[in-house]
């Protein structure tokens, strides 16, 4: 078991390096000259050259063999854009924002709390409602009630999240004045974004959890339980729910990083100063270091969440002994 945990921990290293490589590849290779992009459309060649020097874009991308051959020390080969970035991110130093010149690590720390204020309630409400409805679906499986829920959830999934936000904000905040339109001052400001978030997401999660529950319903142990004379209710809550805990757990833990990245659109529509809005603003203003840091951090948290899931598996299900 310990050996498994250690081996599983070690897999985090190549994945994290890979993520950094991927983000690096997107921002420094696919998109062409990063200095020209940062300098903007009407920049002079001198300005571009200056930015290139300032951010070290003039260095080789991966390995500085020239420098290593000249100085004769193998360490100099790592004096390149990529390894410089690895060093920086290992120290959680993401540089400064181009727009506000603030430290990005500082901005991230400031944005986490507002983001969590929105996404945590959405997550919890959606999870409990979806599981409750999924149990109802499993209870009435194959009947009209179950089919209605399925159709309604597919219908709900087929509408763009943006439309939910725009309509919700227009009707309930602007026309009916039940909620404040914009801002982040008191819990009242969170009610509408949370409600919209739950409604926009419930269709997808209901369908997901229903599939999980129904998969369990057709297992042998359920038939055995019924044969023993257990009631529907007993089977559902004692047998099915417990066994469904594993796929549910996967989904829950994997959703956690998205709590951190926040809801991009909800935050910018309702003026919540969280990470989602920070990301949207960074895209609008071309603030590349901020984007870079957001993507990287989001991925690292995802990697960690995956690790936690795998470790929780061994705890939740004694049958699992992964190689």
């Amino acid at each position: 078991m310990t050996a498994y945990i250690i081996r599983r921990l070690l897999t985090v290293i190549p994945i994290t390096l890979g993520v950094l490589l991927l983000v690096f590849f997107i921002y420094r290779v696919i998109g062409g000259d990063p200095a020209a992009r940062l300098a903007g459309k009407n920049a002079t060649p001198q300005k571009i050259e200056q930015i290139r020097k300032q951010y070290g874009f003039d260095k080789p991308k991966f390995f500085n063999w020239q420098e290593a051959a000249k100085t004769g020390s193998p360490a100099a080969a790592f004096d390149s854009q990529f390894w410089h970035l690895v060093g920086q991110f290992a120290q959680l130093d993401f540089g400064k924002s181009l727009q506000s010149n603030q430290r990005i690590s500082r901005m991230l720390a400031d944005g986490v709390v507002p983001s969590l204020c929105v996404t945590t309630p959405i997550f919890l409400v959606e999870l409990s409602v979806a599981i409750a409805l999924a149990l109802i679906c499993a209870f009435y499986r194959g009947t009209r009630i179950d089919r209605t829920f399925v159709v309604v959830s597919i219908v709900a999934m087929s509408i763009s999240g943006l439309v939910y936000i725009m309509m919700g904000q227009y009707f309930f905040a602007f026309r009916l004045r039940w909620f404040p339109v914009w801002g982040f001052e008191s819990p009242a400001f969170l009610l509408l974004p949370v409600a919209i978030g739950v409604i926009a997401g419930i269709g997808g999660s209901l369908r997901f959890y229903r599939t999980i529950m129904l998969d369990e319903m057709y297992q042998d142990y359920v038939r055995t339980a019924f044969a023993k004379g257990c009631s529907q209710r007993e089977v559902l809550f004692k047998h099915v729910l417990k066994n469904a805990a594993i796929p549910i757990l996967t989904n829950v833990v994997v959703a956690i990083p998205f709590l951190y990245t926040g809801s991009l659109m909800l935050e910018s529509f309702f003026g919540i100063p969280g990470l989602g809005r920070m990301t949207v603003d960074a895209i609008y203003t071309g603030d590349e270091p901020v984007l870079f840091a957001m993507v990287f951090i989001g991925s690292v948290i995802f990697v960690i969440a995956n690790l936690v899931t795998d470790l929780l598996y061994t705890w939740a299900d004694p049958r699992i002994r992964l190689q």
């Binding site: 219908v155 999240g161 997401g201």
Partner: protein
């Protein structure tokens, strides 16, 4: 899908094949059959929109959906403009029809990147195993670790606003699901007797991989495409909102975003029209995709969940 229909008609006289049984299974689902008709109608609209676009392009004139009319700005629905006009007086219905074209183009071009990529990598990983498998698993775990919306945004952002950025972004991110499924299938099929027989008869690895196994897993490509299509449409809306979407052409995402400010003035027809046009296609694709999966491969575990 129409190819499936033609296939199954031709094969009806023969013993049951995967496609003929699947088609019979599919037809039993009345809702899905109705949704298939909706998709057929959308395909018709798409072809019409392409013809409008290309005739205007070849004649080098301003296409009808781009003709502005400043006297009729934000006009309400009327007989002349069924869904009113937008802020420069362009007819909303004409723009929605072009939105169908953009949606199909995005889906098809993105798939042209992701299907070969996902299929080939999945096949290589599943068929050869060992270090090839390890390398490809590493690759897709890495791509999968970056929240997909963030990586699509990043790619579209660096490539630049427009169709190219969206297509490359989605194509380079969405292949992971297909790759996983194909890899699993190849792992299974590698053990089958027909593969051993083909090898024994002297077929090379590539022949076995692409000529013998590939036809048996091709249905997964169709299922994946149908289930990914609605997600492309919904993602396009988000990208348009973030300012990295389509430029200079009326896509549904662009229309919804343009409608954003005017909704507050009571101009609802632009938003309503775009939402409805999108809704029916996404709904039909979702239902048909589910039914296709149930008919072709009921045990397949595809990633489910919303795009946002």
């Amino acid at each position: 899908m129409t190819a499936t229909a033609a296939n199954s008609a031709a094969l009806a006289a023969k013993p049951q094949t995967l496609w003929s049984t699947a088609w019979r299974q599919f037809r039993r689902n009345r809702l899905a059959a109705a949704c298939l008709w909706i998709i057929v109608i959308y395909v018709g609209i798409w072809l019409y929109a392409e013809s409008v676009y290309w005739t205007a392009y070849l004649r080098d004139v301003v296409p009808s959906y781009k003709v502005t009319d400043f006297d009729a700005r934000n006009a309400a629905p009327s007989l002349r403009h069924w869904l009113g006009t937008d802020f420069t007086g362009r007819d909303n219905v004409a723009q929605l029809i072009q939105g169908v074209r953009i949606a199909f183009e995005i889906a098809i071009l993105s798939s042209a990147i992701l299907i070969p990529l996902g299929f080939l990598l999945g096949a290589l990983a599943g068929y050869f195993g060992r270090w090839v498998d390890n390398a490809i698993i590493w690759l897709y775990s890495v791509v999968d670790s970056v929240p997909s919306i963030l990586s699509i945004i990043s790619i579209s952002y660096v490539v630049g606003r427009g169709m190219k950025g969206i297509v490359i972004g989605m194509g380079l991110v969405a292949w992971v699901g297909l790759c996983r499924l194909i890899r699993g299938e190849y792992l299974k099929h590698k053990q089958r007797a027909y593969v051993a027989a083909a090898r024994a008869l002297g077929a090379g690895h590539l022949t076995v991989m692409l000529r013998h196994i590939a036809p048996n897993v091709l249905h997964i490509v169709i299922i994946t495409f149908t289930l990914l299509f609605p997600r492309f449409i919904l993602t396009e809306v988000i990208l348009s909102y973030l300012g990295v979407g389509i430029a200079n052409e009326p896509s549904w995402g662009v229309m919804i975003n343009d409608a954003k400010q005017r909704l507050w003035l009571g101009v609802w027809w632009e938003l309503g029209g775009a939402t409805a046009a999108m809704f029916f296609l996404v709904l039909a694709l979702n239902i048909v995709g589910d039914a296709l999966r149930d008919a072709l491969d009921p045990k397949l575990k595809t990633a489910e969940g919303s795009a946002t």
